[in-house]
Symmetry: C2
Subunit: 350 residues, 2 copies
């Protein structure tokens, strides 16, 4: 960052709005056959080829969703795309196109936009999605990214949130809580840096959870795995706001309750040890931390054998009748505490 400040930076006004968009997007190529027309006309054109279209949009605002004090712009661009692709994956569809809009104050030079778009480009290549549109504008202050993601899926493949039946098993991909603990490390070191800019941040050994926070991935791989296992979830959602909140969404939209077993929640060793450093129960990071972008889904009990040995999946609970409510079964004691999106921290042992 210090070295960059020495370079001569280009104000956006030198290129103008059209020039900036052209400059940022001219290297993007269309790779999906469904992308019939990309950037440069009044609108893009998609050929869905008899499939259904799945579409989602998310806004990331500076100071709310990210802090540029410790989030590199390239990572921000990558993450902004991933967050949206995760929503498409949560519908069990294949992401195919994105539109990226950025509002930024004039404190951001052309080089800042370039870094964001480098991250966008990296995500496009990694996930095989095409950038087909967007808008770039100045704003009064701050940086706001708005991304729309589009995916394709057969009608019979699409999975919503409302299909859970009592006795269905609750399954999660990967491990949880890492992104939240990574954020704690970033915030701690940023505070140290602000107090003494000559201090070197202590990031060593935290790679996995820092990557979970700064460069999360969308589980677009899960669709194929489930197909191979011949499992069709009854409902699915992605974990952006924490396991508790997402479980309650499934509960609300499927009219069921859940029993969620604390001891079953998959946690990485680094998440556990880092939570220890912060005197925090790692389950808290998983349940309420968010930003893990894993998938949470339910399957009929008859499918248990198909997934029980798969390393990507962990069964963490099951659905009950709606009247029974949503509860967390505590590790050790087996005590049932009401599952709420927040405020249950007091029940969890530190």
């Amino acid at each position: 960052m210090l070295e960059e400040k020495k370079k001569r930076l280009t104000p956006v006004s030198e290129l103008g709005e059209f020039g900036l968009i052209k400059h940022l997007t001219e290297k993007f190529e269309l790779k999906n056959i469904s992308s019939r027309l990309g950037i440069g006309d009044d609108a893009a054109v998609i050929d869905p080829n008899n499939k259904k279209i799945v579409v989602s949009t998310d806004v990331l605002a500076e100071g709310v969703h990210f802090n540029l004090g410790y989030v590199p712009l390239k990572h921000l661009g990558y993450k902004a795309v991933v967050v949206n692709l995760s929503d498409i994956a949560a519908m069990n569809a294949v992401p195919t196109q994105i539109l990226v809009s950025i509002a930024a104050s004039n404190r951001f030079p052309v080089e800042a936009f370039e870094e964001i778009y480098q991250g966008v480009s990296l995500a496009c290549r990694h996930y095989n999605v095409d950038l087909i549109g967007g808008d770039t504008t100045s704003s009064n202050s701050g940086l706001v990214l708005s991304i729309t993601a589009i995916g394709l899926g057969e009608e019979t493949e699409i999975i919503k949130r409302d299909g859970v039946k009592p006795n269905d098993l609750l399954v999660v991909t990967g491990d949880l809580g890492g992104a939240y603990m990574g954020l704690q490390i970033l915030e701690r070191e940023h505070t140290v840096f602000l107090a003494n800019p000559n201090m070197q941040p202590e990031m060593e050994g935290y790679d996995y959870i820092l990557e979970r926070q700064l460069k999360p991935e969308a589980r677009t791989d899960i669709k194929k795995i489930l197909e191979e296992l011949k499992v069709k979830p009854t409902a699915m959602i992605d974990i952006s706001d924490g396991l508790a909140s997402e479980t309650l969404h499934l509960s609300d939209q499927s009219k069921v309750g859940f029993r969620l077993y604390e001891e079953k929640i998959p946690l990485d060793t680094l998440t556990i040890t880092t939570a220890g450093e912060f005197n925090l129960n790692p389950s808290t990071a998983a349940l309420n931390g968010g930003e893990d972008y894993e998938l949470l889904f339910t399957i009929g009990p008859e499918d248990y054998d198909k997934i029980k040995n798969h390393p990507d999946f962990t069964v963490i609970g099951h659905a009950v009748e709606q009247e029974q409510g949503n509860h967390l079964v505590l590790r050790g004691s087996g005590q049932l505490v009401p599952l709420t999106a927040q405020g249950w921290d007091a029940f969890l042992k530190k």
Copy 2:
């Protein structure tokens, strides 16, 4: 405004992010059969029914695209939708769905969001489009609206910007320059208001141009009219940045030049008289003002007879070989001046 300040306003924190979205969108119903799933899941689902999908996105930022000193929030919501539907109309497609994202600082209470969504709702009803998604977040400051519009069209119906051939006629819908003159009135009266808040703004008699600025409409009606006349334009674009800029876009993407006749530019009487008040050539407002959201298109010369008497259309010029460049033919003198997106004002008589 003064009366509103007396009311007790609701901070967004009282509802929370999920509560706010639910509150704002629960009254929206899905009306298009292509809208299979709306707000409330990870993503919306659209059934294109063998048609192609057309998609566009635009960002409107406070202080850049609008001034809340004189733009009512309800109008802002309406206009933000219209601006995007205009892009869909410019592809000769039928707009069917929108996604609306808002980033706003906490100086905006729930009631401000409600007003914006009232405008969005009005536009949805007027244009028969469904609100199927969006995101609402706080931001560090200012208000940023990001809208994605989706439309459907047969592949053979979609009209791009690159199909103009030399000798094609350049045609515009409606009249131009009104939105720009409306903005001049709003800015003049706002300046007066800031100098003396007790002064009543003088808006009377300016209704048409104020409406052009504050409540523009997208020409979604043109598709059907052209079908009835059996005319298929060779290229089409909407006029958001002024006639000159859009003509140059067609020139650039079709590899042709244009002769544009100043005397043919359609102007409303009120636009002309108001331009006179500001000592401005009304052609300047049309060529460089923008925000008229009329459609600019080209047709083969053989189609001239089909549209020449239609009240919605005015032939304002024709395409020439690219080497001949883009020129404005001045009223009266017939002098040719190079057509540029801006900076040619000096050539135009006041």
